[in-house]
């Protein structure tokens, strides 16, 4: 049976101890008052705003766009002409997700190249609104092999890239 009196006696023994309380009071009194923290907080907020502005400006710049595309823009090839990937002849028609038709892609000069063999890059034109990329392998030294579901990464033209990677 629960006996409140016994419980009260037990609780009365629970305590911080004089030394501990003294230590805590001493530590607390050393803490700065809240009014001293305000300037620090304001400075931190100002720094955060400046950082946000800088990041926005960087994101809008060509270098920023390039970095963002390099890091984040990934497209999926939804279909690929199965007869086309030949070393010397043929045309590769790739249908890419509608997202490929964004402004960066339309204005960019892009190339296909095999991952890991960048020197074999093949310049071609940008698909534009259609989202279709035609690759004439007659002009290519690259061997393009792919299949439906191949992952394609879009990077701005200056770095000359429209990588494609083997399907995972």
């Amino acid at each position: 049976m629960f006996d409140p009196r016994r419980y009260q006696d037990a609780c009365a023994q629970l305590g911080l101890g004089r030394d501990k309380l003294e230590e805590m009071i001493a530590m607390t009194e050393k803490q700065p008052r809240r009014r001293l923290a305000h300037p620090v907080r304001a400075a931190l907020i100002a720094a955060a705003c400046l950082l946000a502005l800088s990041l926005t400006a960087f994101a809008a710049s060509p270098a920023g766009q390039e970095m963002i595309h390099t890091l984040y823009v990934t497209y999926r090839v939804v279909s690929l002409d199965p007869d086309a990937p030949q070393p010397s002849t043929g045309t590769v028609t790739v249908t890419i997700d509608p997202a490929t038709g964004d402004a960066a892609a339309q204005d960019s000069y892009i190339v296909w190249h095999e991952i890991g063999e960048g020197d074999q890059a093949v310049p071609t034109t940008v698909p534009g609104q259609t989202g279709v990329l035609e690759f004439d392998s007659d002009n290519a030294s690259a061997v393009i092999q792919g299949q439906e579901g191949t992952r394609v990464e879009l990077v701005p033209a200056q770095t000359g890239t429209f990588h494609y990677q083997a399907a995972e």
């Binding site: 049976m1 419980y7 609780c11 911080l16 805590m24």
Partner: protein, 162 residues
Amino acid sequence: MTDDTFERLARAYGDTVFRVAYHALGNRMDAEDVVQGVLLKLYRADKPFASDDHAKHWLLRVTVNDCRKLLRAPWRGRTFPLEDFDGPVTPPEDHSDVLSAVMALPPKYRMCVYLYYYEECSVREVAQALHAKESTVQTWLQRARQLLKRALDEEKEETRDV
């Protein structure tokens, strides 16, 4: 708040804050951390307290809130070896079974039992401190008593068998 008022309230209610935190968190180290945080909030509190009772109830609420924050913290699940743990200030042997039984209750019941039976708060005051309805507090108390009765009866039977 003046340093004198702070020190007087800290001395008067430091142990109370510790006991509330200890009941909520179940170990001394976390409870001491909470006491430190609550005392800091008291030191920085701009509001004047109408009475010591007012200050005490403010401290109880702040302590309960801080304990809840700590219980929700993602690093709460950390463990440490028993050897590193200096343990609670243990109550006398003849009372430890009651305290152990209370500490084995779920946290909301423990807090409820502590505030009601030790701090002698009314159901209304307990409800305010725990941010719950009075009827909920009454239910918690009733369930806690049932659980305690069962636990203590079982313990008594085990002792008798041995």
